[in-house]
């Protein structure tokens, strides 16, 4: 794996980047798209956004657009993940529930879900520990 690919909890056995998703999987070139679509050895499929991680609300829109298209194409998605450097000012809109694998929540207390899939938010500094653990 190239060094810039940071799969969250173990090495995937299938990796699709933006170009692969558009080229090989046929996702729309005119829609925002997330960074990665991973398949893990434990049969989980994850959509992950890292590059847009400076802006959480925008990253959620990328996840939504990607997951919606993947599901329409009959692909599976089990996990929706955002990896961010820091949450910054968006703390005013969001919370992270660290008792439930970093589920992203709105201030109203509702979990953030995209196409019915719960979104998890991890800060970059948390990733090495999760990688070492090998699971969420």
């Amino acid at each position: 794996l190239a060094s810039e690919i940071v799969p969250l909890y173990q090495d995937p056995n299938e990796v699709y980047d933006e170009d692969d998703m558009r080229g090989r999987l046929g996702l729309d070139r005119d829609q925002p798209i997330a960074d990665w679509y991973f398949h893990y050895p434990n049969s989980m499929w994850a959509v992950q956004e890292s590059k847009g991680g400076y802006h959480l609300s925008r990253a959620i829109q990328q996840l939504r657009s990607t997951i919606r298209q993947l599901l329409q194409k009959g692909r599976r998605v089990n996990l929706a993940i955002v990896v961010m450097e820091r949450l910054g000012r968006e703390k005013q809109l969001y919370d992270i529930d660290r008792t439930r694998d970093n589920v992203l929540m709105l201030k109203s207390g509702r979990d953030v879900k995209v196409e019915g899939i719960t979104v998890h938010l991890f800060l970059t500094r948390e990733v090495p520990e999760i990688r070492a653990r090998g699971r969420l």
């Binding site: 005119d30 450097e85 910054g88």
Partner: protein, 313 residues
């Protein structure tokens, strides 16, 4: 966040400025921003939402408007305002208007782009009144990455924007601040700033202290907690020739400070603000907080003074 504009409400003597007037002013300002970039930002439609521009974030879609010519004409703007006026006042108050399209620049693939005009107070507090950005793709994480790829482009799309809009005002608002940043603008993320317009140099110093407090761990928190940021910055600026000394940091890190209605701080390269903060914190802020009397010392002086006077034990 790319570009974020924070508007400040204006007041008129003996006259209340209503919510509708403020809403209309924000819409008008946002559309003027879109027109400034119309050579690159090709708009295909406008969406009106309530609370947030996304269902997943408890947003409620209210209306959609198609844009035929790639930019918002006077007629489109009037149509948008007519739509907003048909909404309940509460919906209008919490409305978020989104212009959607693509960013089209020579020698670069098209990028999905949005300009958000936020009336909803919660959304506005985080992202500003006006927000312009692209969806990341390839090596572009944010619209500022595009703006900073080329010096000429930066001068046209960043520097000229600042001089055009920093002193803007109408009857309801004036420009409070303009941020070109990677991510959402916040004092604690000053290292991600690229170019900003702020009320004064004092505001920049206050933001620098806020960043130090955010990243300085327990020591910074402990040292700064008894003091108001305003007091500390005022003390700094009372030092003779402090402003000249501050300017030397700008010069070293290629930040051009110029009067543009407010004070524009134009970063000449993407790392300008990060490098400025790193050196300024090392040479000024950290030595300053190291010698500040701590809260226990101040509390003890307060206790001693009161006990001496009242003879309380």
């Amino acid at each position: 966040l790319g570009l974020s504009v924070v508007l400040e409400p204006r007041t008129r003597e003996h006259e209340y400025i209503g919510i509708d007037e403020r809403t209309r002013s924000r819409i008008s300002f946002g559309i003027q921003v879109s027109r400034f970039y119309e050579a690159y930002f090709k708009i295909r439609g406008i969406e009106i939402w309530k609370f947030a521009p996304l269902k997943e974030l408890e947003g409620i879609p209210l209306k959609g408007i198609e844009i035929a010519k790639g930019f918002v004409t006077r007629e489109d703007e009037e149509r948008l305002w007519q739509h907003l006026q048909t909404l309940d006042p509460v919906d209008r108050f919490f409305s978020v208007v989104r212009l959607l399209g693509t960013w089209e620049m020579e020698d670069h693939p098209k990028l999905d782009t949005y300009l958000t005009i936020s009336n909803d107070p919660n959304w506005r507090r985080v992202y500003g009144d006006i927000e312009l950005n692209v969806f990341p793709e390839g090596d572009i994480r944010d619209i500022v990455d595009l703006f900073y790829k080329d010096r000429t482009v930066k001068e046209r799309l960043v520097d000229f924007f600042l001089t055009t809009f920093a002193g803007y005002s109408d009857d309801a608002h004036q420009t409070g601040a303009i941020y070109f940043t990677l991510g959402v603008p916040a004092a604690e993320d000053l290292d991600l700033w690229r170019t900003v317009s702020l009320r004064s140099k004092t505001t920049l110093l206050e933001n620098s202290l806020a960043r130090l407090r955010a990243i300085g761990g327990e020591e910074a928190e402990h040292a700064l907690s008894p003091y108001s940021v305003h007091f500390l910055v005022r003390s700094l600026r009372e030092i003779p020739q402090f402003d000249e000394y501050l300017s030397s940091f700008f010069a070293r890190h290629q930040i051009l400070a110029k009067s543009v209605g407010s004070v524009g701080f134009i970063g000449e390269n993407p790392e300008s603000f990060k490098e400025f903060f790193d050196e300024f914190a090392e040479k000024v802020l950290k030595p300053m907080i190291r010698d500040l009397p701590r809260d226990a010392e101040i509390s003890s002086k307060i206790r001693n003074a009161v006990q001496k006077q009242t003879r309380l034990d």
